[in-house]
């Protein structure tokens, strides 16, 4: 068992945890649009306030909620500097050759980094309060309308559910294979590209072989249990959405609307 990367589900009973994933996913994308749509200082104040409220509603400790930002702060710094130094707007504050620090550049830098940070935190809040199984179930029911354009949505739903089921064992197995090859002396440090690619073969080939072997056996087990295709099956009952789900969807839509109204003024 190793430390999992940030962003994985943390059990809890907060408002965000209880929100139906079928609503949480669209809400998330609506708020993401609100972040990208922010054009003024007030616009940013609005989205930052909304995210702060969400962190409170998630019941997650603040360090957990922003962990993924901390992990890539070096990268963010580079983005900021690139924008600040090469943007080339007016109000030049200082310049060295082709490099110039301008007010416009600084603004652009803050904006880009701000967007990335806010979307990262939003994403974190979603993934940390939603079980992978809820995510797939929600995706499966959100794509239902695609049935009308001929997409076999039941089969997609079945594939997604199986994929999620595979993840924990695949992860353990991959970790074991990596360890086994390292123990046998595998190294991944060659500078030459083809050699470097080849150095991953001892890792990638066994991972895929054992994953496909797993898949083959599962396919057999599914057939033994009478699986024909995803259409000919008992339909699952749909849980109705709760009041809070409708409420959340409305509030998020309003926030996004306000954001775009702010752009107008």
């Amino acid at each position: 068992m190793r430390m999992l990367p940030t962003g994985e589900y943390i059990p809890g009973h907060s408002f965000l945890h209880r929100l139906d994933a079928r609503v949480k996913l669209p809400c998330f994308f609506i708020l993401m649009a609100a972040v990208i749509g922010a054009a003024s200082l007030w616009g940013y104040v609005l989205v930052v306030a909304v995210i702060a409220v969400l962190i409170l509603l998630s019941g997650l400790p603040l360090p957990a909620a922003v962990a993924s930002v901390r992990r890539i702060y070096g990268f963010l710094l580079v983005i900021f500097l690139m924008n600040a130094l090469f943007f080339g707007g007016e109000d030049v504050l200082a310049s060295w050759g082709i490099v110039q620090l301008s007010r416009g550049g600084m603004e652009q830098g803050f904006r880009v980094v701000g967007n990335v940070v806010l979307i990262l935190v939003l994403g974190n809040l979603l993934t940390m309060t939603t079980l992978p199984t809820q995510v797939t179930a929600a995706l499966a029911s959100l794509i239902k309308p695609l049935k009308f354009i001929g997409v076999p949505t039941e089969e997609v739903a079945m594939i997604l559910s199986i994929a999620i089921q595979f993840i924990p064992t695949l992860m353990e197995e991959t970790e074991l294979i990596k360890m086994a090859q390292i123990a046998r002396g595998a190294r991944f440090e060659s500078r030459k590209l083809p050699e470097r690619a080849a150095s991953f073969i001892p890792l990638v080939v066994p991972v895929f072989i054992s994953a496909f072997r797993r898949a083959e056996e599962l396919a057999l087990a599914m057939e033994a249990r009478g699986y024909r295709n995803a259409q000919n099956r008992t339909r699952r009952k749909k849980e109705p959405l709760a009041l809070r789900d409708y409420g959340a969807l409305t509030v998020c839509t309003l926030i996004c609307l306000v954001q775009f109204l702010l752009r107008r003024c």
């Binding site: 068992m1 943390i10 080939v205």
Partner: protein
């Protein structure tokens, strides 16, 4: 290659922040050339202990010394460690990848500094030790072999580096009886040639008959250790349940209920047989 384990602990955190202590304060010494078994229920930390000894994980507490040197100390040559310590993981057949058996077995020798003919000779030796006809098997795809053959090729791949210490995690799980016996004979052979063996197993008969020392783990703690026979005798006295008892021991328990008391030292099949011979042929005491 003696291994000293001092106050070894390993803990990790789940995403939820919960701390899991996989190993707690393990202290023991494994002598050069020993054949050591590790037993314990699933989840007792056996595999983690092997991975720590192989230097594949860093302990969160304590030390592991190989010949007196801390393997996790700064500046310790880990590439050398990989050459000295070989690990055969559970279902090692999962690690095969190359286009031919020969290339797969030679994988671990890539950085050994051996010349090409030396490598070929080493591969041949490893495959023959595992009971293969080298010329017949060398150019076959390892992926197309049968399950038992794959496992033997994978073990040959670990053997090829001639490690001084060999770790096995459940090497006989899933093997049929003949393959199991072949494997255990082979391990005994390389142990007699001087290699230190540490073997994790659920199979009590294999542990009782082949290992010289035993470590018993439960819930991350070392609850007993010592010469194999002594440990089995103690386990029987301490735990009345089936855990850690060989078939021969279970039979002595049944016989004792019928007023036939055999010596406590009866642990293996051979012990049982000779004790019964004495008891039944000699007319028994009284």
């Amino acid at each position: 290659m003696s291994i000293q384990i001092e106050h070894l602990s390993y803990a990790y955190r789940l995403p939820s922040g919960e701390k899991v202590e996989a190993l707690k304060e393990i202290t023991c010494t494994i002598a050069t050339g020993d054949f050591v078994g590790i037993m314990g229920p699933t989840g007792s930390g056996k595999t983690t202990l092997l991975q720590l000894i192989a230097g594949l994980r860093r302990p969160t507490g304590g030390r592991i010394r190989l010949n007196g040197k801390d393997i996790n100390a700064h500046g310790y040559n880990r590439n050398l460690l990989r050459q000295m310590v070989g690990v055969v993981f559970q279902e090692p057949e999962n690690q095969l990848f190359a286009t031919t058996v020969e290339k797969d077995v030679a994988f671990g020798l890539k950085y050994s500094g051996l010349s090409r003919p030396e490598i070929t000779a080493r591969v041949q030796w490893a495959l023959e030790t595992m009971g293969f006809d080298f010329e017949k098997i060398r150019n076959q795809s390892p992926l197309a072999l049968s399950g038992g053959e794959k496992r033997r090729v994978a073990i040959a791949g670990v053997l090829a580096t001639k490690p001084q210490i060999l770790l096995f995690d459940e090497p006989i799980a899933g093997l049929d009886p003949y393959s199991r016996q072949h494997f255990l004979h082979f391990v005994t052979k390389i142990n007699q040639a001087g290699t230190t063996i540490i073997m994790v197993s659920h199979n009590m008969e294999a542990l009782a008959e082949y290992t010289r020392h035993l470590l018993v783990l439960a819930q991350g703690r070392l609850i007993d250790s010592g010469p194999t026979r002594e440990v089995f005798i103690r386990l029987k006295q301490k735990h009345s349940g089936a855990f850690g008892q060989t078939e021969a021991q279970k039979i002595t328990t049944l016989l004792a209920k019928n007023k036939l008391v055999l010596p406590a030292a009866v642990v293996t099949y051979d012990d049982l047989l000779s004790a019964l011979k004495q008891e039944l042929a000699g007319g028994g005491p009284g």
